[in-house]
Symmetry: C2
Subunit: 350 residues, 2 copies
DNA sequence: ATGAAAGCGCTAACAT
DNA sequence: ATGTTAGCGCTTTCAT
């Protein structure tokens, strides 16, 4: 068994390619990186050598010198786990919202050749680990999806000096670039629609009041209703989950049995709410008109299909990725935040 | 403005720490990496210097020499996108299953200091990108969640020589280590339970027949029923989504209006099915007993709470991570696959 | 347009 | 137990 007849166990390096092509390492590097000043003939020779040696660049080596990693962290920050032994909840992961965020990010990141490291922060340990990791310089930037208003993470991440973009404004870190939908405008769309339908005995299943999105949608809805002269808004707080939406709807119905219109602050909660309304003998939309928020897959899975406030999550997260890449590559400093406009998608529930 | 009074723009290196501590780089490295043969006094001095310089190791440099990256890829392989312009579907991301997989992996990975790079493969381009990325050696191993039976990815990944573990057996790559639940046994639990309840006019909403899990659950259910002398199984194919479950249930009901028991191959589909049954005037479990599969959050969100076959996804994916780490760190070759036992969780739907 | 050479920050022999 | 030293594979001046 002649050693040099076999393919090398060790993957090919620039050196190997250079030897095969009969050029210097530098030239190979230039070809690999698309530097324009390379003789076309040589370029071809090199490319063939690359092929022959099955060369792929070593990212660690490259990263060591360029100080770029071509990857960003997608950080999901959730409320602390209930207890050590409690089963993981991971609400964020089961929410269609998360998938849409990933999709939008990937749409921009993949063509740019940037990878995404997924990190979950749900206690102090994991937070410290995250910050250490970020400081190790293994990512070029951070996209953060944080669930609670009091979360210190946005500020801490900004403190690392790494480029960062938030999904949604953080009350604790106003200096950080964010992308979000105009929550007030969205809630207003819902209010106007219900009122235009002639509904007056209106209620809402709000999101968690310790989340900015939950607060803003409730506040916006209440304000818009007030503008229509409706001041007694019945509401119940849900947790943005299916089950939470069902439970909150039960409470709401108990408090306000004569309800004829309801705004539910997320489609997932609306999915939980509809069967509750049905069981309570209310026909949607005849007895109770229902407007959701998000326009996720869940809205279509509802029965009847859900009228809802559309939040262009994919476009929003694509924009997050763009801001991040611009900031990473760019000489320019902080990017301005971006606020998207919601729209009303009318289906059958209202 | 005196330059050296300011904190250095450049992050501290081993060299810096060594200088401050008055020792060699090697000693600092030993302290950082917990080598036992270091004088306790020196260790303290070094640790102080680390503190003072705010030193954090550079991962790229370390990785370049150790040839380890302390990260693995979580690859999610989905059916090719419908069209270029079609909105991203990302079924996997909205499924509670995905969150549970991530949770289980993280449970093992985080204490081990291993990061997770999330990669989505949904067309040829992204597949090629993935394979190139893997060959660049930026991850030490791969955990793969693949949705379709004909997926060539398991084999291709194994072909890279990187340690890999699959969530679920792949018909195309029998040589790859996998972790899965005994699907047949699970389906049998469902069948036995329905029969023990006295149900005889039984149907099933199966999963996609181009997914191993979809096939196996149908096959197992049919076999178990046959053992009870029931041979005329009505079934409809769903796609493991809520909406798909609803649609399939409608078809099933049309075909078999006298149905008194049904096995639905995922909780998410069961969630879609229950309102359909209710609308059709069937009370669950009185008229139709329903058994799901998964025991995810969805099962509890059902009304009535779902009797279901429990699949210990978190433990399974934790085991995937363990196998992977063992294989990565280990001298031993291929790890044996692991099959978990399902159990029946009886609630109110059957 | 190409090559030579100097590191990037770290670990792991090896020597002491 | 600690220090010295030789790279890991790559990019990037700086010459030519």
């Amino acid at each position: 068994m002649t050693a040099d007849a076999l393919p090398p166990a060790r993957p090919a390096t620039l050196e190997d390619v250079a030897r095969v092509a009969g050029v210097s390492r530098a030239t190979v590097s230039r070809v690999i990186n698309g530097t324009p000043t390379v003789d076309p003939a040589l370029r071809r020779t090199v490319l063939e050598a690359v092929e022959a040696t099955r060369y792929v660049p070593n990212r660690a080596a490259r990263s060591l010198v360029t100080r770029r990693t071509d990857s960003i962290a997608l950080v999901v920050s959730e409320q602390e786990r209930r207890s050590v032994s409690a089963p993981f909840v991971g609400r964020m992961f089961s929410d269609p919202y998360f998938g849409r965020v990933v999709a939008g990010l990937l749409d921009v990141l993949r063509p740019a050749g940037v990878q995404m490291v997924l990190m979950l922060v749900d206690d102090e340990t994991s937070r410290d680990q995250l910050l250490a990791y970020l400081r190790q310089g293994h990512v070029d930037g951070v996209a953060l999806v944080s669930s609670h208003a009091a979360d210190p993470l946005p500020g801490l991440i900004t403190g690392t000096g790494l480029p960062a973009v938030l999904a949604g404004r953080s009350p604790r870190s106003t200096g950080t670039t964010y992308v979000e939908v105009d929550q007030h405008a969205g809630a207003q769309l819902a209010a106007d629609h219900l009122v235009s339908l002639g509904r007056r005995r209106i209620g809402t299943v709000a999101g968690p009041q310790d989340m900015p999105a939950g607060q803003a949608r409730l506040e916006g809805f209440r304000g818009a209703l007030a503008a229509h002269g409706i001041d007694d808004l019945a509401w119940a707080e849900g947790d943005f989950t299916h089950a939470g939406g069902a439970a909150a709807t039960k409470r709401l119905l108990a408090e306000r049995p004569d309800l004829d219109g309801v705004f539910i602050a997320s489609d997932l909660m609306a999915m939980g709410a509809l069967p509750v309304l049905a069981r309570a003998g209310r026909t949607v939309p005849r007895d109770v008109a229902v407007v959701g928020f998000d326009d996720s897959d869940a809205a279509l899975a509802c029965d009847p299909p859900l009228t809802t406030v559309r939040q262009p999550v994919e476009e929003m997260s694509a924009e997050m990725a763009r801001l991040l890449l611009r900031r990473i590559g760019g000489t320019d400093g902080l990017q301005p935040s971006v606020v998207f406009h919601p729209s009303l998608v009318v289906r059958e529930s209202a």
